[in-house]
């Protein structure tokens, strides 16, 4: 399976494999048993050219916060890998800062389901995204991560540092053809386990959708099928149909170096 929330928090400590979390500038705090709240700025590098927050950035925030929430629910016996993410983006025109809330809906023997929502604290807490993250429970080879509770993870943003590049530039995404975009599996895009971060997969799905439709994902389901270990990683979008309110697109993510499909997304995109 693959990374996502699992990828952000390693047993080696939070310093490693957290480049994606730093990029989206999310701070996480365990506020209550089985609840995590994150805060992030609606930073300019996370926005599209039209000024709206990119769906990939919103889904990465959702994945970060929901992943930690699910992981803590799996303790002490195991940790989690994200298996799928479903989200409905209500409004991406955020003023920020953003508040990301997650709580556990169900903890079973083999999976954890968390609800995640993103609100715009700069717009009286208006709802931006609502979604659900499902994770499988597993026992890592060296045991689950150890945490000091309540968990607090900060990204320690350096205010004097230059602004990060926009998402396409940061990912190094390039078009392959009319339907496909690709990235190399660069070190900052990997999680502590060395595989592509699940949030980056979501960003790639977003960019492939935009590449084909020129529109932004509004309703997304993303199934993580296998890890991206080698690269380059390609996302190919295929338009399935057009409705009055948008286009329905199927996106297939492939680890070209491993010659396998690693994720499938179905997206309704709206201009």
């Amino acid at each position: 399976v693959t990374s996502s929330g699992f990828g952000v928090f390693g047993s080696d400590g939070p310093a490693q494999g957290r480049d994606v979390s730093r990029y989206v500038c999310v701070d996480l705090r365990e506020t209550d048993e089985a609840r995590i709240t994150g805060h992030a700025p609606a930073a300019s590098h996370l926005r599209a050219l039209d000024g709206r927050m990119r769906a990939g950035a919103l889904l990465t925030l959702l994945d970060n916060v929901g992943g930690l929430c699910g992981g803590l629910a799996a303790l002490p016996d195991g940790w989690v890998v994200t298996t799928n993410l479903a989200a409905h983006i209500v409004d991406a025109s955020a003023s920020g800062p953003l508040r990301i809330d997650s709580h556990v809906l169900r903890t079973g023997r083999s999976s954890v389901v968390t609800a995640v929502s993103i609100h715009d604290e700069g717009a009286a807490g208006a709802l931006l995204v609502t979604g659900v993250l499902t994770s499988s429970i597993l026992v890592p080879e060296h045991g689950p991560p150890q945490w000091t509770r309540p968990v607090v993870l900060t990204t320690l943003v350096d205010d004097d540092a230059p602004a990060p590049p926009p998402i396409p530039e940061w990912l190094g995404v390039s078009p392959v053809d009319e339907t496909t975009v690709a990235i190399d599996l660069a070190a900052p895009l990997r999680n502590p386990w060395g595989i592509l971060h699940g949030g980056v997969v979501a960003m790639l799905v977003d960019l492939a959708t935009e590449h084909v439709t020129g529109a932004m994902p509004a309703d997304v389901v993303l199934h993580y099928l296998a890890p991206n270990r080698i690269g380059p990683v390609q996302a190919s979008a295929r338009g399935l149909g057009t409705r009055a309110d948008g286009d329905v697109v199927r996106v297939e993510v492939r680890d070209v170096g491993a010659d396998r499909v690693t994720a499938i997304g179905v997206v309704t995109a709206r201009a």
Partner: protein, 277 residues
């Protein structure tokens, strides 16, 4: 599943599902388009298609997970065209068969009585793989040599599907529906069939969105996360309209088993459009 399920008088028989399998392992299920499963726009409701998806996807997942058993975790459906005549074909294939999860993708195709077939939607389902218990039904590994049907003599719907379920809209604005749990709509585990839960969520979301928009919106996107079985009833819904404007129509729906201390059964999100092409 076992020979005793479903009984002769059952939703799955009255929807007149039939099944086939390709040499490549793709499972096919078919539902005839009849007025009783269509909305007032004349196309098959998302909830009815979710039931078709649930049945064909669940069957394929159960076969894939053998000898273990499965629990449906979620179902998503995206429609981009309306099916208004003939039949709808669902083609299910395995995307992932892992130790703990099975993921299925289902393509939906409208086969009209006249004219060309066309794709109308796409669905995905994921399942948790669980150790088999004695109470789990056996999965028949016999492959049909030809198309087989669940219908028996007398099968069919005499009234619209939601009426047949006994669904009552208590409050349109709040998307509050009440639906009894009847043998007609139970699954092989004795709980409300998963597709029916999706159907109720769709109807609840549609009611609230139509009230908010004062327009005949049609649910086109459906995401549902299953949390527990509904065994007692009545099943109740509550809807929060998330957006209702020129750009976006969406709602979230909570489904609870009121008779089981209002235990939460499912959470769903729907997106709606003015009319499916």
């Amino acid at each position: 599943v076992t020979a005793t399920y479903p009984p002769d008088r059952h939703l799955l028989r009255d929807l007149r599902f039939s099944f086939d399998e390709s040499a490549d392992g793709t499972r096919h299920a078919f539902i005839p388009v009849v007025p009783e499963i269509c909305g007032d726009d004349g196309s098959v409701r998302a909830g009815a298609l979710a039931t078709l998806v649930d049945v064909v996807g669940g069957g394929l997942a159960a076969s894939t997970a053998r000898p273990d058993w499965i629990a449906t975790a979620d179902l998503t459906l995206h429609l981009f065209a309306g099916a208004r005549a003939g039949e709808v074909e669902a083609a299910a294939r395995v995307l992932r068969a892992g130790r703990t999860t099975v993921v299925i993708e289902v393509g939906l195709r409208g086969n009209p009585l006249h004219g060309h077939a066309r794709d109308v939607g796409i669905a995905t389902m994921s399942f948790s793989v669980l150790p088999r218990r004695d109470s789990n039904p056996e999965v028949d590994e016999m492959r049909p040599v030809a198309r087989s049907t669940m219908a028996v003599d007398g099968s069919g719907l005499a009234v619209p599907l939601l009426d047949a379920l006994g669904a009552v809209v208590v409050d349109e604005r709040g998307g509050r529906l009440e639906v009894p749990v009847t043998d007609w709509a139970r699954n092989s585990m004795g709980a409300m069939q998963g597709g029916v839960v999706a159907m109720i969520a769709e109807a609840a979301g549609e009611a609230a969105l139509r009230h908010a928009a004062a327009a005949p919106l049609v649910v086109a996107d459906l995401q549902i996360t299953y949390l527990s079985f509904g065994r007692v009833g009545p099943i109740e819904t509550a809807v929060e309209v998330l957006a209702c404007d020129a750009h976006s129509d969406g709602a979230s729906i909570e489904v609870v088993d009121a008779g089981a201390d209002h235990r939460r059964m499912a959470l769903a999100r729907v997106g709606a459009t003015r009319r499916l092409p």
